[in-house]
């Protein structure tokens, strides 16, 4: 290869390289303040979360309302391991990943046999239980007081006689987050094009057809849920070490909703769409957070806009801004009409 021949690249590749270069030099642009960099990291963090959640509604067509539970599990895994054992962040990432996956399997294996509605509500209940646990088990999590003074991320080479770098300020976290997003996107693309991904799409498009092709529905759904949960936990582990403070309030239902909204806005199942959704909604959220108090309203009211976005998207553009053809066909009204009508749940007795 040697030199990069720009002419030979496709338009999509050019845009990607351009965006990556922009992201890499962003902190050095003159108008970028610490606050903006903080928001940029938040955007990247939500990209990881949204990409992780995307597996469940986007690739499998199941509604997961409790994603924040896994985010919280990952954050507290990271926070507590740092707080009590002083583990390095690089050790914590795989541990958080595994912990998220384990909880995903524990919750998913019994509930994914059921229809999507039940699954949605169970995940919802689960995330509420996680918050209750984090609030009440004071011996472990310090409860509502929160977990302060979590160590920052550091690269410690003292073992090999090298120096030790501590991540101070936003800049190193920004680049760490970029690396994590790149890895996540890479993994997502590879999964999407793998046997696993194809099985998921088959499940999403038609469960009956998928089963008749020999796909084990439960196994594939549980794998999807576990991977999704694991990415949520990794996002949480980053959040804990970046914020250096955790409290159960950070993992309320709102977060799940916000992440779901990113996917709905961007386009379910579309990796690019989901990332763009994260950019738009985190920015919108921050702008509204600043703007609303000026209008004399509490900042929480910004979720009004998110609720409205979701309703309007479902009404007018259910496959999102960047729709995937298969999803668009699925979500189009009238689809269910052609299917044989099911024995509905009657009001009995």
């Amino acid at each position: 290869m040697g030199k990069l021949e720009l002419q030979k690249l496709t338009r999509g590749a050019k845009i990607r390289i351009g965006l990556l270069i922009f992201a890499l030099i962003l902190p050095f642009l003159p108008f970028v303040t610490d606050y903006l960099l903080h928001i940029a990291i938040l955007v990247l963090l939500y990209m990881i979360l949204a990409l992780g959640l995307n597996i469940v509604p986007g690739f499998n067509g199941l509604l997961d309302l409790g994603y924040v539970g896994f985010y919280g599990i990952g954050a507290y895994t990271s926070g507590l391991l740092t707080y009590h054992f002083g583990l390095s962040y690089w050790v914590i990432i795989p541990l958080a990943f595994m912990n998220g996956a384990i909880w995903g399997i524990l919750l998913g294996a019994p509930t994914l046999r059921l229809t999507g509605d039940y699954f949605a509500i169970v995940t919802f209940g689960f995330s509420e239980l996680v918050v209750l646990f984090l609030t009440n088990e004071i011996w472990l999590t310090r409860g509502p007081l929160g977990l302060p003074g979590i160590d920052v991320v550091s690269i410690d080479l003292t073992l090999f006689g090298g120096p030790k770098w501590e991540f101070i300020g936003e800049l190193p976290y920004y680049y760490l987050a970029i690396v994590m997003v790149l890895i996540t996107v890479f993994v997502m693309y590879r999964i999407q094009d793998s046997r696993l991904g194809r099985a998921w799409f088959a499940i999403r498009d038609d469960e009956v057809a998928a089963v008749s092709c020999g796909i084990n529905l439960l196994a594939y759904k549980v794998i999807a849920f576990a991977i999704s949960a694991a990415f949520g936990a990794v996002g949480g582990s980053f959040f804990a070490r970046w914020m250096t403070f955790l409290s159960p309030d950070m993992f309320k239902f709102w977060e799940s909703f916000l992440i779901l909204c990113m996917i709905v806005l961007g386009g379910m199942g579309n990796i690019w769409g989901v990332m763009i959704g994260a950019v738009i909604l985190v920015s919108l959220s921050e702008v509204l957070r600043e703007l609303l108090p000026l209008l004399g309203l509490p900042a929480d009211v910004r979720f009004l806009a998110f609720g409205l976005i979701m309703v309007l998207m479902m009404r007018f553009r259910p496959a999102g801004m960047l729709p995937i053809a298969a999803v668009a066909a699925q979500m189009r009204a009238g689809r269910t009409k052609r299917r044989k009508s099911k024995p509905a749940m009657g009001i009995k007795k």
């Binding site: 509500i121 009404r315 509905a344 007795k349």
Partner: protein, 298 residues
């Protein structure tokens, strides 16, 4: 202690039952978990609050008026949010439902402010505070009785409506098979609207009673109550009205005892745990049928 917990549990359980019935009826006719139902309950409390404080209506007038408003809200919710998606896949409708829930919650926050408000106690009839019966160290106020009686009357009324009236018959027909119901001349959309109205009125009544009983109302009150009522509906078997009634009462009692004897910190957790366990072990609930065939969720 035991009796007191039992009474508390029955009181709150009856209220859960009233919300749960709304979930179950709506699920029965449109196969949708109406996440925004908890918000209708919250709106009921706020409507009553507004009618009493702003219009100066007495409690007995504000109560039915707020119920009517909630019924209208339920119908509007259906017409604007759910009806356009009736032929869409489940996932779209579920996302809309959760979006409407958040939207209404925040709308209430804009209109009434996000702080918890006390319910105007002076508007409540004076005898509510007085003890009606006292036995075994338990004091039952007239307010307890009011809630008990009203719950029972409404549940009985609902049961008779579903069982004995033309509308109820139409509702059951729509719940069984929409296409067939339409073929026999039933206006399916109107029946669905009617169901949303009934569910909204009952949810609103529950909201008013809770706000008055606990003397506090706030825009996020529908969120937890809605989830608990859903747990009750699941426990009873979603789609089954008597199941939802029983589920609500059982859950209320379980919660009161759990909070009293196990851990008051996990009061809210008990319902979620019950719900998850029921869904895993007996997904059909106490009275329901198993949803074996997975309906397209996308």
């Amino acid at each position: 202690m035991f009796l007191q917990q039992l009474v508390n549990g029955l009181t709150i359980g009856g209220i859960y039952a009233m919300i749960a019935v709304g979930y179950t009826m709506i699920y029965g006719v449109v196969q949708l978990i109406n996440f925004a139902h908890g918000e209708i309950y919250m709106l009921g409390a706020f409507f009553a609050f507004t009618f009493i404080t702003v219009l100066g209506l007495p409690f007995y007038a504000a109560f039915p008026l707020a119920m009517v408003c909630c019924a209208v809200c339920g119908v509007l919710l259906d017409i604007f949010a759910y009806r356009p998606l009736r032929q869409s896949p489940r996932l779209a409708a579920l996302i809309t439902a959760i979006g409407m829930s958040i939207f209404l919650q925040n709308l209430a926050m804009i209109i009434w402010g996000s702080r918890a408000k006390p319910f105007p106690q002076e508007a409540l009839p004076a005898y509510f505070e007085k003890t009606a019966v006292s036995f075994g160290g338990v004091n039952l106020s007239w307010f307890h009785f009011f809630i008990f009686v009203l719950t029972i009357v409404m549940m009985a009324g609902l049961h008779l409506t579903i069982k004995k009236t033309r509308w109820g018959k139409a509702m059951r027909a729509v719940a069984q098979n929409k296409t067939m119901a339409a073929l026999t001349g039933i206006n399916v959309n109107r029946v669905i609207s009617y169901t949303f109205a009934l569910a909204g009125a009952l949810g609103g009544a529950a909201g008013i009673m809770v706000a008055a009983f606990y003397n506090s109302l706030y825009p996020t009150m529908g969120y937890i109550a809605g989830l608990k009522a859903f747990a009750a509906a699941v426990l009873g078997g979603i789609g089954s009205v008597p199941g939802a009634m029983l589920g609500g009462v059982v859950l209320g009692v379980a919660e009161a005892f759990g909070a009293g004897y196990l851990s008051s910190l996990y009061r809210d957790g008990i319902s979620y745990a019950v719900m998850i366990i029921v869904i895993i072990l007996i997904p059909a609930g106490l009275f329901g049928r198993v949803l074996k065939e997975t309906k397209k969720s996308m």
